[in-house]
């Protein structure tokens, strides 16, 4: 790699490593025409929500299964929001937020599940 900084100019050449890494996750972004992506995202989110409500209101499944299903729906909905509205993969340089957020979700789930597990205690005295 050439000695970039020798001909460096503040605004033009990479002063920073991540600008060289760019291209690893380029933003896809659409600015023309009708915002189809947003509209479809909205409709999908409404459908997912309605599904969850309807399932619960009509008690279509036994409670435990029902809870599992609505949690799955919630996760789908979260992924939808992240992808459509939050432009998760867009960034300048490597998309570090994907890694950090992924870890965050992992930890969050671990925290909740493990806490419940820990607090269940020994079932009585053996």
């Amino acid at each position: 790699m050439a000695h970039l900084s020798n001909q460096s100019h503040h605004a033009e050449t990479p002063d920073h490593e991540d600008r060289i890494e760019i291209g690893s996750l380029t933003p896809h972004f659409q600015a023309h025409g009708f915002p189809w992506k947003q509209v479809l995202g909205y409709v999908a989110s409404l459908l997912l929500t309605a599904l969850a409500f309807v399932l619960v209101m009509n008690h279509v499944l036994p409670p435990t299964a029902l809870i599992a299903v609505i949690l799955v729906l919630a996760v789908l909905q979260a992924m939808l929001q992240l992808g459509v509205f939050m432009h998760l993969r867009e960034s300048r340089g490597s998309a570090w937020q994907v890694i950090v957020l992924g870890l965050g979700f992992f930890m969050a789930a671990g925290l909740i599940i493990a806490s419940v597990w820990i607090m269940m205690f020994k079932a009585g005295v053996s």
């Binding site: 100019h9 920073h16 930890m107």
Partner: protein, 655 residues
């Protein structure tokens, strides 16, 4: 009026020894203030320091604060040890003793170890990666002032209103209003909440700095090891502090607003606090030790004149430690009976951490193998760390052995374990880093001979203090006992331990002398590279100019500066006048200071439930934030001419 005074100064605040320590701190402050007034330096102080957003200045302020807090926490330790020197001793009463161990632990962890590390983050990281500053300079100052005012809030509890007294872990229901009606615990929760916000911001700030602001050519696998450890520490912080925040806030809600989270009745569940606290607490011990590991990974190669052994494995083990350290928190409450399944799982996960940690230890030894070891003070602290941390780690593994922990939990064996880790790991690490980077911070060296005296006193004192405590644990002595009867076999070991503590105190005094002496007579560092360093911070003058790098360097090798020196390019590193461009520099700002101050007012008001004061503080917070939002004039382009002049003055301009 008189009732307000009685509330502010209950009898429990009239504590002789605390007062002596505070008087010492106050006297120092007053004399500094006096000197400032005398030399008309107030404006200078405000402009150059209190409103500074320069990472190097902020680092130095962290360092000063941390040293003061080390003194403060150390005096507490000496008081504890004096009380425990003899059985049935009456030096401190139970109330006083309880407050002192609480503040000792809290101060040492949150207001000594953390800021000391942040000092070194600030001083070294941007310079090591070839950056002009951190990613968020103003938020960096916000972090500092939140920490500083948080620390202040905790410290005034000794004088005004009463101190916290339920240990640094503050388990409810003991910390609930019913059992602890004084305001002391409010101070504890609020000061940690405030400082915690600052810490979280620091975590984010350094992660982004490292991920986004490295000099060209410095790929992740070419970053200095210290930078790696700061990166993962940032990750640990941003994931570990929220549970702490929640645990503190919920207890505070119980105390101030009558919720029922951890209370005795109303379905309260105190163990959930314990769970949340250690969800933070365990990662916290790695937050304070991983950067120390990083410092060692810089110091050892430099003073062994050799490349760091096994860099990729070091990186892998740091990452492994980070991930594993989230999965072990239950080892702090094995004896809360969550059942054999839970205990076995967390016992084994804890032991697994020993493997990557061991890899690191081996790699440092192998780095020295085949090198030329120079026994400088910075290196001595590192060399003492290895044997000490081995003991800490081995006894940690014993504690992770669940049935053994049933016998050791909360005993002095545990106290000895964590002091070996915290002092042998963190304190030795930050002292090593302080001696190592001192010339870069201040432009002069610390006297080596005095430094060695201090080292030996402290190291020997440390062993004499804490080795007997392992034995006390086996004799069944539990922690947080303000006194003990004779005849249990504890007396002589306690006396030995106390003697050791005072030896450490002597070592600390020599460090202070060392600093003061060197300020006057210390050897100037004119080269910018006094140790024959390997990383980029040594390629620029000491102390670094405001803009750090006149020209951003291009990195080709892991030991970037070493590589330039070896390939004879260090001369070429001299700045070509024509290549100098304007530099994007953050402007100083009063906002961070005012924000910290406002938070302090909020905290103080809430401590006493004086809502008017709290609301005034809250408005201050709001005003500072609004000011920040509408301030678009927060950076400037530094004139190349200024840089040219500075570099020429340092003799660094190419002809």
């Amino acid at each position: 009026m008189s009732h307000i005074i009685a509330e502010l100064f209950p009898p429990s605040t009239l504590r002789l020894f605390e007062l002596i320590a505070d008087v010492l701190i106050v006297l120092t402050t007053v004399s500094i203030v006096g000197v400032l007034t005398y030399t008309k330096k107030w404006v200078w102080l405000w402009r150059e320091w209190l409103t500074s957003v320069d990472h190097k200045r902020i680092g130095i302020m962290y360092l000063i604060a941390a040293l003061v807090m080390l003194f403060r926490g150390g005096v507490d330790a000496l008081l504890l040890r004096t009380q425990l020197a003899f059985p049935n001793n009456h030096f401190l009463g139970p109330e006083h003793y309880d407050e002192i161990f609480t503040t000792h632990g809290t101060i040492m962890i949150f207001f000594m170890a953390m800021p000391f590390l942040f000092a070194l983050f600030n001083v070294a990281v941007p310079l090591m990666i070839g950056a002009r500053d951190v990613a968020f300079p103003r938020l960096n100052a916000v972090s500092f002032w939140l920490f500083a005012f948080g620390a202040l809030l905790l410290n005034i509890s000794f004088v005004i209103g009463g101190s916290p007294n339920a240990g640094w872990t503050a388990y409810p229901p003991l910390t609930e209003l019913r059992f602890n009606p004084s305001v002391g615990e409010n101070y504890y929760f609020l000061s940690l909440l405030i400082a915690g916000i600052g810490t979280t911001i620091t975590g984010i700030n350094f992660m982004v700095t490292i991920l986004r602001m490295r000099a060209p050519g410095m790929t992740l696998m070419k970053m200095p090891m210290f930078v790696w450890t700061v990166l993962v520490t940032g990750a640990l912080i941003i994931f570990a502090f929220p549970p702490l925040t929640v645990s503190l806030a919920l207890t505070l809600f119980d105390r101030l607003f009558g919720s029922s989270f951890f209370t005795l009745g109303h379905g309260g569940m105190p163990m959930m606090f314990v769970n949340l606290f250690w969800l933070f607490g365990h990662p916290e011990v790695y937050i304070v030790v991983l950067p120390a590991f990083g410092i060692f990974s810089e110091v050892v190669p430099v003073f062994s004149d050799k490349k760091l052994y096994g860099y990729p494995i070091m990186v892998a083990s740091v990452l492994a430690i980070t991930v594993l350290s989230y999965g072990v928190w239950v080892h702090h409450f094995f004896t809360m009976g969550a059942g054999p399944g839970v205990n076995a799982f967390f016992g084994v996960s804890t032991m697994l951490i020993a493997i990557p940690t061991g890899v690191k230890i081996f790699n440092w030894v192998l780095t020295m193998w085949g090198g030329r070891i120079r026994f400088t003070v910075a290196m001595l602290w590192q060399l003492a760390f290895i044997p000490a941390f081995l003991i800490a780690g081995a006894t940690g593994v014993l504690l992770a052995t669940v049935p053994v922990d049933y016998q050791m939990h909360n005993s002095y064996f545990l106290i000895a374990h964590f002091h070996f880790a915290l002092i042998g790991g963190t304190v030795f690490g930050v002292l090593s880093g302080m001696y190592y980077w001192w010339p870069k911070m201040f432009g002069y060296m610390l006297n080596e001979r005095q430094g060695k005296v201090a080292f030996w006193l402290f190291f020997i004192g440390f062993l004499v203090t804490f080795v007997p405590q392992y034995m006390l644990g086996l004799e069944g002595m539990t922690r947080r006992m303000y006194t003990y009867p004779p005849g249990l076999g504890w007396s002589s070991l306690n006396l030995v331990s106390t003697i050791g503590a005072f030896t450490q105190g002597a070592g600390f005094l020599v460090i202070v002398y060392n600093v003061l002496w060197s300020m006057r007579y210390g050897e100037r560092d004119l080269t910018g590279d006094p140790w024959n360093g390997r990383t980029l911070e040594w390629s620029i003058p000491s102390p670094a100019p405001e803009y750090n790098f006149a020209i951003v360097p291009v990195v080709h090798d892991r030991d970037a500066w070493w590589d330039m020196k070896q390939s004879g390019k260090s001369e070429a590193f001299k700045v070509k006048s024509s290549a100098i461009r304007p530099v994007h520099m953050p402007k100083r700002s009063a906002m961070p200071f005012l924000l910290g101050l406002s938070f302090f007012v909020v905290g103080f008001g809430m401590t006493f439930s004086w809502w008017v004061i709290a609301i005034i503080g809250g408005l201050g917070v709001l005003a500072s934030l609004l000011y920040g939002a509408f301030d678009y004039d927060d950076f400037e382009e530094l004139d190349p001419e200024v840089i040219r002049r500075t570099e020429a003055g340092l003799g660094r301009l190419q002809a």
